[in-house]
C-alpha cells in the first residue's frame, strides 16, 4: 500500500513528466507551427541570415524579459525597465565623453541600472507595497533623472568600437546574440540551479509558506529586482550601441514587450510559476511575429494589433491546456 510497484511508479512518472512538459512548453508547439507557416508562406524566412536577424532583433527585449521573468516569478513586476534603459543609455554617453573607455561606460551603465533595481527591490521588500504602483512611480523618477543628466538632448556616439558592440559580428554571428545567450545562461543557472532561484519560486508561490520555511524573503525580493536592473543595464549597452546614441527618450513601452514575452512563455502573473526556456520561447515568438509580418508585408499598424491578438491567443491556449491536465 505504501509503495506502488516499481514499474507502475515509473510509468506514472513518465505520464506526469509528459503532461508537465506539455503544460510548461506547450506554447513552443505554437512557435513551431508559426515557423512552419512562415517557411511555406515566405521562402526567405528560413535563410540563416534571417534567422540570425530575428535573434539579433530580440536581443534587447530578451535581456529585459529574462530579468522581468525573475521578478514576476517572485510575485512582483518591474515597470521601470524602460526608464532604466534610457538612463543607462544617457550614462554611457556621459561616461564615453568623460573617459573614452568602452569598458568603464558599460560598467557604469550596468551598475547604475542595477542600483536602481536595488532601490526598487528594497522599497518593495521593506514596505510590502504593490509592485505595480511602486515601479510605476520609480519609472517616472528614473526617466526624469535621465532627462536631467542629459539635459533632454540626444547625444550621438562617435566611438566606432563602442557601436561595434551592438551591430558588429563575431564569427558571422551578431554580437548581441552572444549577450542574449549569456543572459539566458545566467538566468537559467540562477533560477534552476541556485538557492536564490528556488527561494524566488517559493516567495512568488506562497510568501507566507516561504517565511515559515525560513526563506530570507526580504533578500529574495530585493535580489529579483537587482537582477532585473542588471539585465536592463546589459540591454541598455546593446541598445545604445545599436542606435549609436545616448538618448533619454528611448525605451518607452519596453516593459510591455518584456512582460508579454514572460506571459507568452508561461510565467504566471500570480508568481511562483515560470521556466527560463519558456521565457525564451516567448521572446522568440515576439521576434518571429514581427519578422514574419515584415516578410509578409503587413503594415506596422496591423502588426501591433496582431501582436496583441496573438498574446491573447497564447494565453487562452495556455489556459485551455492547463485545464485539460
Amino acid at each position: 500500500m505504501n509503495s506502488l510497484s516499481k514499474k507502475g511508479n515509473r510509468l506514472g512518472m513518465d505520464q506526469t513528466d509528459l503532461s508537465l512538459l506539455m503544460r510548461r512548453y506547450g506554447i513552443g508547439l505554437v512557435l513551431v507551427a508559426m515557423c512552419i507557416f512562415l517557411m511555406i508562406a515566405t521562402p526567405n524566412f528560413t535563410k540563416a541570415s534571417n534567422l540570425l536577424s530575428i535573434l539579433n532583433s530580440v536581443a534587447v527585449n530578451g535581456c529585459i524579459a529574462f530579468g522581468m521573468c525573475v521578478v514576476i516569478t517572485g510575485g512582483g513586476i518591474d515597470l521601470s525597465v524602460g526608464s532604466m534603459l534610457a538612463l543607462g543609455s544617457v550614462m554611457i554617453g556621459k561616461m564615453l565623453d568623460a573617459t573614452g573607455s568602452n569598458l568603464i561606460a558599460c560598467i557604469v551603465c550596468i551598475a547604475v541600472c542595477t542600483f536602481f533595481g536595488l532601490i526598487n527591490g528594497l522599497l518593495l521588500a521593506k514596505f510590502e507595497l504593490f509592485p505595480f504602483v511602486v515601479t510605476l512611480a520609480t519609472q517616472l523618477s528614473i526617466r526624469g533623472i535621465g532627462y536631467l543628466i542629459s539635459g533632454g538632448y540626444s547625444q550621438g556616439l562617435t566611438n566606432v568600437s563602442f557601436t561595434n558592440i551592438g551591430i558588429g559580428k563575431t564569427l558571422g554571428i551578431p554580437n548581441a546574440v552572444f549577450f542574449l545567450t549569456a543572459i539566458l545562461i545566467i538566468t537559467y543557472i540562477l533560477m534552476h540551479r541556485t538557492k536564490f532561484g528556488r527561494y524566488d519560486y517559493a516567495v512568488g508561490g506562497n510568501k507566507a509558506a516561504a517565511t515559515a520555511s525560513g526563506v530570507p524573503v526580504f533578500w529574495t525580493i530585493a535580489g529579483s529586482y537587482v537582477f532585473s536592473g542588471f539585465c536592463t543595464g546589459v540591454a541598455a549597452v546593446l541598445m545604445s550601441a545599436r542606435i549609436n546614441a545616448a538618448q533619454p527618450n528611448i525605451g518607452i513601452g519596453y516593459e510591455t514587450d518584456a512582460i508579454a514575452a514572460c506571459v507568452i512563455g508561461g510565467t504566471s502573473f500570480a508568481g511562483g510559476i515560470s521556466t527560463t526556456p519558456g521565457c525564451l520561447i516567448g521572446i522568440l515568438m515576439i521576434g518571429v511575429i514581427y519578422n514574419g509580418m515584415n516578410l509578409l508585408g503587413v503594415n506596422s499598424y496591423w502588426q501591433t494589433i496582431l501582436k496583441g491578438l496573438l498574446i491573447l491567443l497564447a494565453l487562452l491556449l495556455d489556459k485551455f491546456m492547463n485545464k485539460k491536465h
Binding site: L20, K195, T211
Partner: protein, 500 residues
C-alpha cells in the same frame, strides 16, 4: 411511498473526472426537518456530491429530486432560488462590504436606478435581530470574527428562503463556545422546519446534533440510517472499510534531558509562560482557540517574536528574531494553516521538501540537485507520502499526504525541537493514524515535540504531558499516567480550558 417523506433524493449519481470515478451510483435520501450527517474520509466523494447538488458540477448520470420535483441547477445562484444553499468551509464573503450588503448581494433594494441602502439595512437588521446576532448590520464584514461571519452566511441562506442548507465542516475553526452557539442555531433552524446537511470529521458532533447519516467511501454511499442506532466504532468502520482499533498509537519512548525551556515568555496573546520540553517527549498544548497556544509557539519559532521572557535551547539562551534563525537553531514548526504556511501548492513535492534545507545541500554556489533528489525521496518515503513521484505539484495531493510532505520537509531539516500546530487538521481518519505513528517515531529519535491540538482525544492519546491554556496563561499540567489511569478525563481538561 409518500412523496413528502424525503425533501432531497439522489438516485444513482455518478461523476467521473478524466476517467477517475469520483462518485459511483450514489444514493442519498434526506428527510425534511432533520440534520443529516455526511461522513467519509477526504476524497470519499462528499464534496463532489455537494457540488452536484448546488450546481458547481453536473453529474454524468443519475437524478436528483427536491421537494418531490425533478431538480437540476446550473449554478449556486439557481440552487439558491430553488431553496438550496451551502455554507462553505472557506467562507465566501466580501470583506469590505457591510453585513447588510453581504446578505443582500445581488438582491439589493433599488429605487429607480439607485440603491435604496436604507431599506436593505433595515431588512438586514431585522434578520440579524431575529438571530440575536448582537451587531449592527452596517458593520464591515472584515471586522467580524470568523464565527460571526459564518453566521452571516447562514442568515443569508435563510433570507433566500433556503429549505435545505448544506454546511461543510462549519466547526473546523470554531472554539467550543462558538460551536455550542452554532449548534443552538442549527436546532432553531430545525425547529423552523429547515433541513441541514452537516459535513464534519468530528465524530462527537455527529452524535450531538445529527438525526440521520450517510457514509461515503471511495465514491460510493456505503451506509445510511439513524444516528441513534449506531456507535462511533461502527461509523469509523464504515468510513475506512476496516476496523481502526487504536486511533492514537502512542508508543512510549525514553525521555531524555531538557531540550527546550521557555521562562516567563510574554507576547501578544500570551503571558508569563514557562515550561520545559525534554528529548523524546511529546508535550501537548491545549486550550480554546485564541487561548494563546499558537501565539506561544509562533514566538518560539520566530514568526512573532515575544516581547519579554527567555527561550533556552540545551541550557543556552537563544533569540529567534526570524524563522531563519529559529531553523538554524534546530527548531522546526508545522503550522496549523497548511495551505497558507505549509506548502507552496503549485511547486513540486521535491521543492517543498527541500525548501528550508538548501543551505547545506550546495556545491559551491550551485545546488546539488542529485543529492537533493535522493534525500527528498528518502524522507518522503520515510513519511509514507503516497504520490506519483516527487515532481508532481503539492496541489494534487490529499490533505493527509500534503501534511506528510510538510513533515518530511522538517524531518530533512533534522530538528532538535519540532512544533506541531494542529498536525491532523483536515486530515482523514486513515492518514491521521499514519501521521500519529510518524510523530511517535520522531519522538523516539530524541526530538523534543510540542504538539497543539483542539481535539481532546488526540491530545490525550498522544501526549506525555499536557499543558492547558486559559486566556493566555497556563492553567494546569496533566501527566500521561493520570490519563491512562483515568484520574483525568476529557471533562477535567475542558474544565481547565474554561478556567476552572
Amino acid at each position: 411511498m409518500d412523496s413528502n417523506e424525503y425533501i432531497l433524493e439522489c438516485h444513482g449519481l455518478s461523476k467521473a473526472f478524466a476517467g477517475t470515478k469520483a462518485l459511483t451510483e450514489v444514493d442519498m435520501m434526506i428527510r425534511p426537518g432533520t440534520v443529516h450527517a455526511l461522513m467519509g474520509e477526504n476524497g470519499a466523494g462528499k464534496s463532489t456530491l455537494m457540488k452536484c447538488i448546488i450546481g458547481l458540477l453536473e453529474q454524468d448520470t443519475g437524478t436528483i429530486t427536491f421537494e418531490g420535483q425533478p431538480y437540476k441547477v446550473k449554478n449556486p445562484a439557481e440552487a439558491a432560488l430553488k431553496g438550496v444553499s451551502m455554507v462553505h468551509q472557506e467562507l465566501n464573503v466580501e470583506p469590505y462590504l457591510t453585513i447588510a450588503e453581504n446578505i443582500f448581494l445581488h438582491r439589493e433594494d433599488v429605487r429607480g436606478p439607485f440603491l435604496d441602502k436604507k431599506a436593505t439595512l433595515k431588512k438586514a437588521q431585522a434578520l440579524l435581530d431575529e438571530f440575536k446576532f448582537g451587531m449592527p448590520a452596517k458593520t464591515e464584514m472584515q471586522n467580524l470574527p470568523l464565527a460571526k461571519a459564518q453566521m452571516v452566511e447562514i442568515i443569508k441562506a435563510v433570507s433566500q428562503n433556503a429549505r435545505l442548507i448544506i454546511m461543510d465542516e462549519p466547526t473546523s475553526s470554531l472554539d467550543s463556545e462558538e460551536t455550542e452557539h452554532l449548534f443552538q442555531t442549527i436546532r432553531d433552524l430545525k425547529a423552523q422546519g429547515k433541513t441541514i446537511v452537516y459535513i464534519s470529521h468530528r465524530m462527537e458532533e455527529i452524535f450531538q446534533i445529527c438525526d440521520d447519516y450517510t457514509v461515503f467511501r471511495d465514491g460510493h454511499s456505503v451506509g445510511c440510517g439513524r444516528v441513534a442506532d449506531i456507535t462511533t466504532a461502527d461509523l469509523v468502520t464504515q468510513m475506512v472499510g476496516r476496523e481502526v482499533k487504536n486511533i492514537f498509537p502512542k508508543v512510549d519512548c525514553a525521555i531524555g534531558e531538557v531540550e527546550l525551556e521557555v521562562k516567563n515568555l510574554t507576547g501578544k496573546g500570551f503571558k508569563d509562560i514557562s515550561f520545559q520540553v525534554h528529548k523524546g517527549e511529546i508535550l501537548g498544548l491545549t486550550g480554546l482557540v485564541g487561548a494563546g497556544r499558537s501565539e506561544t509557539v509562533s514566538a518560539i519559532f520566530g514568526l512573532l517574536p515575544p516581547t519579554s521572557g527567555e527561550i533556552l535551547l540545551e541550557g543556552k539562551e537563544i533569540k529567534n528574531k526570524s524563522t531563519t534563525q529559529a531553523i538554524a537553531h534546530g527548531i522546526a514548526m508545522v503550522n496549523e494553516d497548511r495551505k497558507q504556511y505549509g506548502l507552496c501548492l503549485m511547486r513540486s513535492l521535491r521543492e517543498n521538501i527541500s525548501l528550508p534545507n538548501l543551505k547545506s545541500r550546495q556545491r559551491g554556489l550551485l545546488l546539488n540537485k542529485k543529492r537533493e533528489k535522493e534525500e527528498c525521496a528518502q524522507y518522503a518515503k520515510e513519511m509514507t507520502v503516497k504520490s506519483a513521484g516527487l515532481e508532481i505539484e503539492a496541489l494534487s495531493l490529499s490533505g493527509g499526504n500534503q501534511q506528510k510532505v510538510v513533515l518530511a520537509k522538517w524531518l530533512m531539516a533534522n530538528p532538535k525541537v519540532l512544533i506541531l500546530d494542529e498536525p491532523t487538521r483536515g486530515v482523514d481518519v486513515g492518514a491521521k493514524a499514519e501521521i500519529h505513528t510518524q510523530i511517535c517515531k520522531l519522538a523516539a529519535r530524541g526530538i523534543a515535540i510540542i504538539m497543539i491540538s483542539s481535539e481532546l482525544p488526540e491530545i490525550m492519546g498522544m501526549s506525555d504531558r499536557i499543558l492547558v491554556y486559559h486566556e493566555g496563561k497556563l492553567n494546569g499540567e496533566i501527566l500521561r499516567r493520570d490519563i491512562l489511569s483515568g484520574v483525568v478525563t476529557q471533562e477535567t481538561i475542558l474544565a481547565k480550558e474554561f478556567g476552572q
